[in-house]
């Protein structure tokens, strides 16, 4: 069999980057007790505002910065709905996703009139000709800085402990003098920033442009990864890498003569099948965060 393993690893890291960023964002918000189904819309906003920023200011860095700001705002919108107003989190999240995607498409149509969108300054690749190492800077930042930092922050800092306390037992946290609302607002803002970075990776690194439906369900995959990972950082990263590896593998297998007999629909479905199987195997006896889906009200 002729699989190019180095190219497979390269593709795995690239494809996994937006998934891992979004999944990390979701781990943080869900640990605080908020299921953020606005994730798909937040990624979309990140992709679009990143594109807009890069086009307006002529630099991918500006695009990234603006995408992060937009992600924070999207997180805060979820916070207003679910923390301040105590709206049902499923409804608020899906509503946020629908609203944000529609708003981006609307703005894009107003500004670009429905044609092909322009090319923007995009991030280049580091170590362009070295196998596996030739990745976008954001991929390096994600795996070498953001992931370890998130793991450390959640595990060993006061901030992380407060987050866990608020998500597990908000009454006790409140009694201990922690502002439940403030922690949840912060979690949603940081989570939103990470999700938007994941989206911005698609427009600012992978494509160098924006297209409608650019996220194509990656946010929903990230939600599955978070449950698969049981709200832990490293398993979420592993899950993202697994999904991306199977995706990269099927893209190679589908053009090898040895696998001609396998229907291509099965190949395309393969990464999703793997996630579903992984969820079915690991998803038994799940212990959700104690205050999952529950708005907190002082009584």
């Amino acid at each position: 069999m002729t699989i190019a393993y180095l190219a497979l690893l390269t593709a795995m890291l690239t494809t996994a980057t937006p998934l891992v960023l979004a999944a990390l964002g979701e781990v943080i918000t869900e640990r605080a007790g908020i299921l953020n189904l606005g994730i798909e819309g937040t990624m979309y906003v990140g992709a679009f505002t990143g594109f807009l920023g890069a086009e307006l200011f002529g630099s991918a860095w500006w695009g990234l910065l603006i995408a992060i700001v937009a992600g924070v705002l999207a997180g805060l919108l979820m916070a207003v709905l679910t923390v301040t107003l105590g709206v049902n989190q499923h409804v608020a999240g899906i509503g946020t996703t629908l609203l944000l995607i529609a708003a981006c498409d609307f703005t894009s149509r107003l500004k670009y009139g429905g044609g092909t969108l322009p090319q923007i300054p995009k991030f280049g690749q580091l170590f362009a000709d070295v196998p596996v190492a030739s990745q976008f800077l954001l991929t390096y930042v994600t795996f070498l800085v953001i992931v370890p930092a998130a793991w450390y922050a959640l595990r060993a800092t006061g901030m992380g402990l407060k987050l866990g306390a608020v998500g597990e037992n908000p009454e006790a946290a409140d009694a201990a003098g922690i502002s439940v609302a403030r922690v949840r607002y912060a979690a949603l803002a940081i989570g939103g920033a990470l999700m938007a970075m994941g989206g911005a990776f698609l427009s600012l690194a992978m494509l160098g442009s924006f297209t409608l439906n650019i996220t194509n369900g990656r946010g929903w995959v990230a939600i599955a990864l978070v449950i698969f990972a049981r709200w832990r950082v490293w398993p979420a990263v592993a899950g993202g890498l697994l999904f991306a590896a199977v995706d990269a593998l099927q893209l190679q297998l589908v053009v090898t003569p040895e696998f001609a007999a396998v229907p291509r629909e099965v190949m395309i479905a393969l990464p999703y099948l793997v996630v579903i199987i992984a969820l079915a195997v690991s998803g038994r006896n799940l212990r959700y965060p104690g205050a999952y889906l529950q708005p907190y009200r002082r009584t």
Binding site: L8, L81, F106, G113, G114, G115, L212, N213, N216, F259
Partner: protein
């Protein structure tokens, strides 16, 4: 004290709930407004918003003036026919974009009043949109793409026999009023295949295409036959991404083909050129000349020109002879409906002049009718070695 506290606590409890209700309502109202505005742009919900939107933002200046002053019966009362574009995908998708541009050009030239609605992505939405605009705006001709809602659109057309329909479709036309067209790009695809076969050094060529449906299959198969003409040892790898528009997936698919040895790519779908740029490989574009996306990599593009199709429909409409027919031939190369974009030799490895001469000669043969590109609508395999 106690009596004083109780009402107050009830009061403080109630106020936030009231404020909450108010905020929820206003956020919901704002959201509804944004969504409604968006629905108006895509024009898929109500006729009034879609007409005002397409009038102001998309139709040409003179055309929009006419359409807004004329009211619902514009199509019947003015000398210019009202032509509607009813698209299943967003306009940003290149296939529908090509139809839209041709109609827009006709409107800019003052031949028609043009309005459009897009993103009618289900049978139900398509039926509602069509019925709505046919009843309220009475267009003379409706253009669109029927691939994802063939039965639904044909059912509506049957109910409005006085309106002429011209839809992109893989099926046959229906009397008296349903014509079909398609992007018959097999000619430029064959020529592009000849180029690809001639420039590949690894004898491996990658094609990233949408999905195995007749209109895509015949382009890819013609491309493979073109490769065979200039390179008898070549292998063509074909990946279907199962979407008409998913550039990030298309890019990853192209990179996987490069990993499998491909050193020339054919971007049947958007996203592949980005991969070619990253790997500095020659690539062939699609639908429009995509050279500007990567001037040092795009060696040519298959170009679809819908103008001849639109012109033929309008000519027959004016003459009063418009009837159901297969308009496919107006997308053929020899009728000006498709072409190969100017060949760009400034690509990695360059292009030998002998190869260009060969392609030019074949193009002449297509134009004068001495060569007809074979049409094969069977799904190509993931990996085809042309000599076998």
């Amino acid at each position: 004290m106690r009596a004083g506290l109780l009402p107050e606590s009830r009061h403080t409890r109630r106020r936030p709930r009231f404020t909450r209700g108010l905020v929820v309502t206003s956020v919901a109202a704002a959201a509804a407004l944004v969504l409604a505005a968006c629905g108006g742009t895509t024009g898929s919900t109500t006729t009034s918003s879609s007409s005002s939107d397409s009038g102001s933002s998309s139709s040409g200046g003179s055309a929009s003036g006419e359409s807004s002053s004329g009211g619902p019966s514009t199509g019947a009362s003015t000398d210019k026919p009202l032509v509607y574009g009813v698209f299943a995908t967003p306009l940003e998708e290149p296939w529908d974009g090509a139809v839209h541009q041709a109609l827009q050009a006709a409107a800019d030239a003052g031949e028609i009043v043009y309005k459009h609605t897009d993103n009618n992505d289900s049978d139900d939405k398509m039926t509602r949109t069509l019925t709505d605009l046919l009843t309220n705006e009475k267009p003379a001709i409706v253009f669109g793409d029927a691939f994802s809602s063939e039965d639904a659109i044909r059912a509506v057309a049957k109910d409005y026999p006085k309106v002429q329909f011209a839809f992109g479709s893989g099926n046959d036309p229906v009397d008296p009023n349903f014509s079909t067209f398609d992007n018959w790009l097999q000619d430029p695809a064959y020529l592009a295949g000849m180029l690809a076969g001639g420039v590949t050094k690894s004898n491996t060529i990658g094609v990233v295409a949408a999905m195995p449906i007749p209109e895509v299959d015949r382009i890819v198969n013609a491309f493979i036959k073109g490769v065979a003409e200039t390179n008898s040892k070549a292998t063509v790898k074909v990946t279907f991404i199962n979407s008409f528009f998913d550039p990030t997936t298309a890019k990853q698919a192209a990179l996987a083909q490069v990993a499998q040895g491909a050193d020339v790519l054919f971007a049947e779908r958007d996203g592949v050129i980005e991969a070619a740029k990253e790997k500095n490989l020659p690539v062939i574009g699609m639908m429009v000349d995509q050279k500007s996306q990567a001037p040092k990599n795009v060696m040519t593009s298959l170009v679809w020109n819908m103008r001849p199709t639109v012109e033929e429909v309008l000519k027959e409409f004016k003459a009063g002879t418009l009837h159901s027919q297969n308009l496919g031939q107006y997308s053929y190369m020899k009728n000006g409906g498709s072409s190969l974009a100017p060949i760009n030799t400034d690509i990695p490895g360059g292009i030998p002049q002998a190869l260009i001469d060969k392609v030019t000669a074949k193009q002449k043969a297509i134009m004068d009718g001495t060569f007809t590109t074979p049409i094969d609508e069977k799904a190509p395999a993931g990996s085809t070695t042309v000599g076998q």
